[in-house]
Each structure stands twice: as C-alpha cells, then as structure tokens.
C-alpha cells in the first residue's frame, strides 16, 4: 500500500492495518470516512470536523478536484452564469477544518472489516461510513442510449463538462433547429430540474435563434411546479415549446445518437441538440457496499443510517428516505442530522432530534424566480412531509424578482455551508 503524503495529510489512524476496534469514548479518535464530496458529503464532513473540534478523524473521498454544482448549472446553460461561478474546490475543508481530502474513487466497501478500498490502492478503516455518491443512470432506460453516447446526447445531470457540452450544442444549433429533451421517470434528482432547463434553453434561443423549436418527451403525466412552468412557457416562450406527455406517446421513446434522431411514439425527428436524462439510481458505490434495495438505499429517518448496517449512513440522492425530493438542499439538511448523530455516537456529544427542510427555486426567465418547499419530520417509517408552500401563478414581477434574488442568496449560503 502506498499513499501520497501530500494528498493524504496526517491520517495515521486511518492507515493502520489493524481492523477497526469498536470506538471507546476517551480512547483513540473515532474515524469517519465520507464517500462523495457533494451536497451531502461535503456538508457532513464539514459539520463533523467543525463541531467535534478535532476529536474525530474525518476523511473525505472525492475523485474530482473541482465540484461543479448541478444547482445553477441550468442558469449556466441559459447564459446567466459562467462555468467558474459554479465550481468549488476543497481547499478550506482541508486547511480550515482539518479534513483529510483524498482525491480518488472508492471502489470497494468491506462492511464486516469496516474498510473502504480506493482505486489508487489505499485502504481506509472507519468506525462510521457516510455514503453520499449522488446518482448513476439505469442502463437501457432510454432505448438506443447508453453512457458511451453521452457526448453526442449529453445528460448534463452531473454538472461540469456535461453542462459545457450541452450549452455548446444549444449554441451550435442551426437557425430554426430542434432541441429535444428526453425527461426521466420518477424518482430522479431535482424534480423541477428538467423543466427549469427548458426555460433556460428557451431563454437563450429566444434571442439567438427565435425560430428554433424545443420538444420534450416525458414519461410522466405531471411534473414539479407544472402550472408555474406552463404559465412561464406560455408567457415568455410562446409557440416554442412542445411538451409531449405519456398521453401522446412521450413514454415511448428511442434515440439514435449516431444519426441524431429521436423517435417518439413511432415518429422519427432529426434533432440538432439532444438532452437525454435517463432513469436514475443510487451512485454505484452504494450498491457495491450492499446497502441498496432495488435502485436506492433505504435509511432510517432518525439519523440517515442504512436499514442494512447502522454503521453506514447514506445521504442525499442515493438514499431512499421517504418524502424529501432529491435536491441539494435536502442532502445538506440530511447531512446535518447525520453529522449530529455520528458525532454523538463517537464522542458522546448531545444528540438532538432530527429536523429537515427543503426549498427549491427555479428560474423561468430573467429575474423571474419561483420556489417550492416543505418541512419534514422523522417517523419510524420515513421522513414525512409536515407541510409546505409553492409560488403561485400570476405573481407580480416584483415578487418574482425577490424570489430570484433569494435563490442567489441561498446559493451563496449553501455553498459556504458545504465548503466553508
């Protein structure tokens, strides 16, 4: 086993070959390994390190050096942001919070030995493991598409180079060209995400390529904030957007990435930009760890611990927790509950009862924001919705602008909460 000392700062405890002994309070520092440095994982690592003040050894495993937030990546596609605006690095988590940030892939989890193996060959021992790997795609969910087609027909449902590809495709469309989106079935990350994206693509095309057309093939009869989006499409992008629900064959779709065609209910169309958002499942490492049941990893609502193994917690999109939507806000909220429970288990600190909330903003057109949100509580069965709110159709421009400005405030808040 070789370990690069510079990327792997001060992890004597984690690299000992001995099997993890049960944590005894007051003895060796408890060891937490977090897999995935996104909305759930970065927040959990930061809160555990910050609040335990060095009493817990936290290692964060994340392959990328810059995390591009999916949130606001649609605004990037619409031209409201640049790619640098949505990129964040892990420097402060290491320097200000003493987290061992390891840029590598986790490739194996041995739950009986309580170890994680990395692609680079290292093995990490843990007392508690936190998995927040986000999503992967279900093979074969869109006929004709697999991950090797992601350059021709990007999903842009993990942000970064995929978002850049999709933006470039939209910008490269010929005059009067066609943009197609294959929308995903439930449950999937960010329920309003595909429809906000349509707004952003339409916003760009409206000025740059006003005769262009947008088609959406959707297997769902209803989607998040549907009335608000449809109002926005009518008000701002009238005649440009054709949404095809399952009633009209939106669920009978295949694509041909080489020919750049989309076939909906037997009718084939040549398209110029194609955004395939396949069905989703928990990030693959959750399945490898053996904590999934079907596509997702069931967890306890009280502390986000796996229903299979109480020493493993699953956060964010990968978890199956009940009523919360798969959002960055939800993952951040769940991470704090998990961090509190893990800290209590390893140091004896006070554990407070779980509480969760979520709000998701979407941008319809310039300075025209809408939002939906709810609060949640923990029950034996699941995380349960205790009531929420949604923006209304017909709101005035001033309120919509204030809502948009809130979303900017939230973005600054959540990214500071994740990365310090």
């Amino acid at each position: 086993m070789t370990i690069n000392r510079r990327t792997f700062l001060g992890t004597g405890a984690a690299t000992t070959a001995a099997l993890a002994a049960p944590q005894v309070i007051g003895q060796a520092r408890g060891r937490v390994v977090v897999i995935g440095g996104g909305a759930g994982g970065a927040t959990a690592a930061r809160y555990i390190a910050k609040d335990s003040k060095g009493a817990i050894d936290v290692t964060l495993v994340e392959p990328t050096r810059t995390y591009y937030t999916c949130f606001f990546s649609n605004l990037y596609i619409g031209g409201f942001k640049e790619v640098a605006d949505i990129g964040h690095t892990y420097g402060r988590l290491a320097s200000d919070f003493g987290i061992n940030v390891v840029h590598d892939w986790a490739v194996g989890v041995d739950r009986s030995a309580r170890t994680v193996s990395l692609a680079g060959g290292a093995t990490l021992s843990y007392d508690r493991l936190i998995l927040s790997p986000g999503i992967d795609f279900v093979d074969g969910s869109v006929e004709g598409w697999d991950i090797t087609a992601q350059n021709a027909m990007p999903h842009a449902y993990k942000a970064g180079s995929q978002s850049e590809l999709l933006r470039a495709q939209v910008r490269g469309m010929p005059e009067g060209g066609v943009y197609a989106m294959i929308a995903p079935p439930n449950p999937f990350r960010c329920p309003p995400g595909p429809y906000e994206r349509i707004c952003m693509v339409a916003h760009y095309l409206k000025s740059a390529n006003p005769t262009a057309k947008i088609i959406i093939a959707d297997p769902k009869p209803k989607f998040s904030k549907m009335a608000l989006f449809q109002e926005g499409w009518g008000d701002h992008y009238d005649g440009m957007i054709d949404w095809i629900g399952p009633e009209f064959g939106g669920d009978k779709v295949s694509v041909d990435p080489a020919a750049m065609t989309v076939t909906i209910d037997g009718e084939t169309t040549k398209v110029d930009a194609c955004n395939v958002i396949p069905a989703m499942k928990a990030g693959r490492i959750a399945e490898i760890a053996g904590v999934t049941d079907g596509n997702w990893a069931p967890v306890s609502a009280y502390d986000m611990s796996s229903r299979t193994d109480p020493n493993v917690h699953v956060l964010g999109d990968a978890s199956q927790q009940g009523d919360m939507p798969k959002s960055g806000f939800s993952a951040n909220s769940q991470a704090k509950v998990c961090a509190n429970a893990v800290r209590g288990a390893l140091t004896g600190s006070k554990v407070f009862p779980a509480r969760y909330s979520n709000t998701c903003w979407s941008l319809i057109s310039a300075e025209n924001g809408v939002k939906v949100g709810a609060s949640y509580e923990a029950t034996d069965e699941k995380i349960k919705n205790t009531g929420g709110f949604i923006s209304k159709t017909g709101e005035n421009a001033e309120l919509r602008k204030a809502t948009y400005e809130e979303s900017e405030g939230w973005y600054a808040g959540i990214t500071a909460d994740m990365f310090g």
Binding site: K336, F352, S375
Partner: protein, 231 residues
C-alpha cells in the same frame, strides 16, 4: 509584554480627543433612541423595506430621493434635481424643519426642535452604514409578543443545532446578498421577527413555514446563538 509609558500617554490623549469629537458630532447611541420618532414611517437595519417613507439604510452620503423603487413626491424629486446629497448640513435642515427644506412634502413630521437630538440622530444614521450590521426594525411596532416570551433565556447550544436549518440560506458569516443577515441581532428583535412570521403578521412563505415549526424555547435558543455568531 512591556508597557511603554509614552504609548500609554498617547492612548489617553487619543481617547480624550475622540471624546471631544463625539460631543461635537453627536452620540449615535442616544440617536438610536431619537430614531423612535421616525420608526413609524422609516425602517432601518437588515431587511429594511420602504414603508410610508423610504428605508433609511445608507442614507448618509446618498443623493436625495434616489431610491428608484420608492415613489417620492415632487418636493423631494426637486431636491434630487438640485443635486442635494444627505450629509450633516442637509439632514440638519431636513430634521429641523422639513417643510422649509421641501415645501409641500408629504413627510408628515414637524421636525426635531432640540439640536442635540438632531446631532445625535444624524450620528446614528451615519453610523449604521448600509444597515446590514444591525437588526431590522421592520414590523417592530405593536409586535404583541408577550414580555414573558421575550424574557426567556435561550440555550445557545440548542440554538447552534437549530441554526443548521437557517445557514443553508442565511450566510453564517453575515453576508446579506439576496437573503438578509441574521447574525449579531439583539435577541429581542430576533424573537419579535420570528414571532411576526409565526403569527403571519409578516408575510413570507419560507419564513412562515420555518417559524411555525419553532416553539418559544427554540426561537429563544436561536436568538441566543445568533447574537454571538458570525465572526
């Protein structure tokens, strides 16, 4: 550490000088109390909005009638067209006799007869800067919060836990772009603001949802935590 007597003397001299300067330019602390005269029509502090009159955050040094989002009277727009800027002199004139400075203005306020009050108030307005560092006064009047509730001593450790829900939106460092800062507020104002959302006196779907889930003890705990957070 060694104390150099010359430095001590210098410090004393600076302190005396500062005291003298303050007496001349007004006492901001006392000015806060005088602002009670204005509160019915003007808000200041984090999240301040226009009410009967425009909010007064950042008023010191700003051209008159320069909020695009407030519908000023022709009298005040006239001041703006004359290039008037709110400084020591012009505020002194306005506060002494609004009608003389801006005849026909609807600012239904007769002026402050006492020059000390005026100086103190101006020092206060100057000191609040853009207002983000002080608690908002909006919704402060007739808040109807039981004094017993305001007197609850909050548990800051519990508040720290509960604050996790807040800092996803309200930046922990007090930044206030898009969403107001809630750090370093006096606890009573914090409690009053949260109760205003809880009772619906203050409209905002997110904050109403959040506040309605919090009991009196929890609000007090949050107030105690945020009072000393953010640095």
């Amino acid at each position: 550490m060694s104390a150099d007597p010359r430095i001590l003397i210098l410090l004393v001299a600076i302190a005396i000088h500062a005291g003298a300067a303050q007496a001349q330019s007004g006492d901001a602390e006392a000015g806060r109390a005088v602002f009670g005269e204005c509160e019915g029509c003007h808000e200041i502090g984090a999240g301040a909005r226009h009410g009967i009159g425009p909010h007064l955050n950042g008023v010191f040094g700003r051209p008159a009638a320069s909020h695009e989002t407030f519908a000023y009277s022709p009298a005040f727009l006239g001041l703006r067209d004359r290039g008037l800027v709110w400084d020591e002199t012009s505020l002194e004139q306005l506060l002494e006799d609004p009608e003389a400075l801006a005849p026909g203005s609807p600012m239904g306020f007769d002026g402050l007869p006492d020059i000390v009050d005026r100086r103190n108030l101006i020092a206060f307005l100057r000191g609040i800067g853009d207002g983000s560092r002080i608690a908002g006064t909006g919704g402060d009047r007739d808040h109807g919060v039981d004094p017993a509730v305001l007197a609850i001593q909050g548990d800051a450790e519990y508040g720290a836990w509960l604050s996790g829900e807040c800092v996803t939106c309200h930046r922990a460092d007090g930044g206030d772009a898009g969403i107001p800062s809630i750090v370093r507020w006096p606890p009573d104002r914090f409690v009053i603001a949260m109760h205003a959302y809880r009772t619906g006196r203050r409209e905002h779907p997110v904050m109403q949802m959040i506040a309605r889930r919090l009991g009196d003890e929890e609000i007090a705990a949050l107030a105690a935590y945020f009072e000393n957070s953010g640095e």
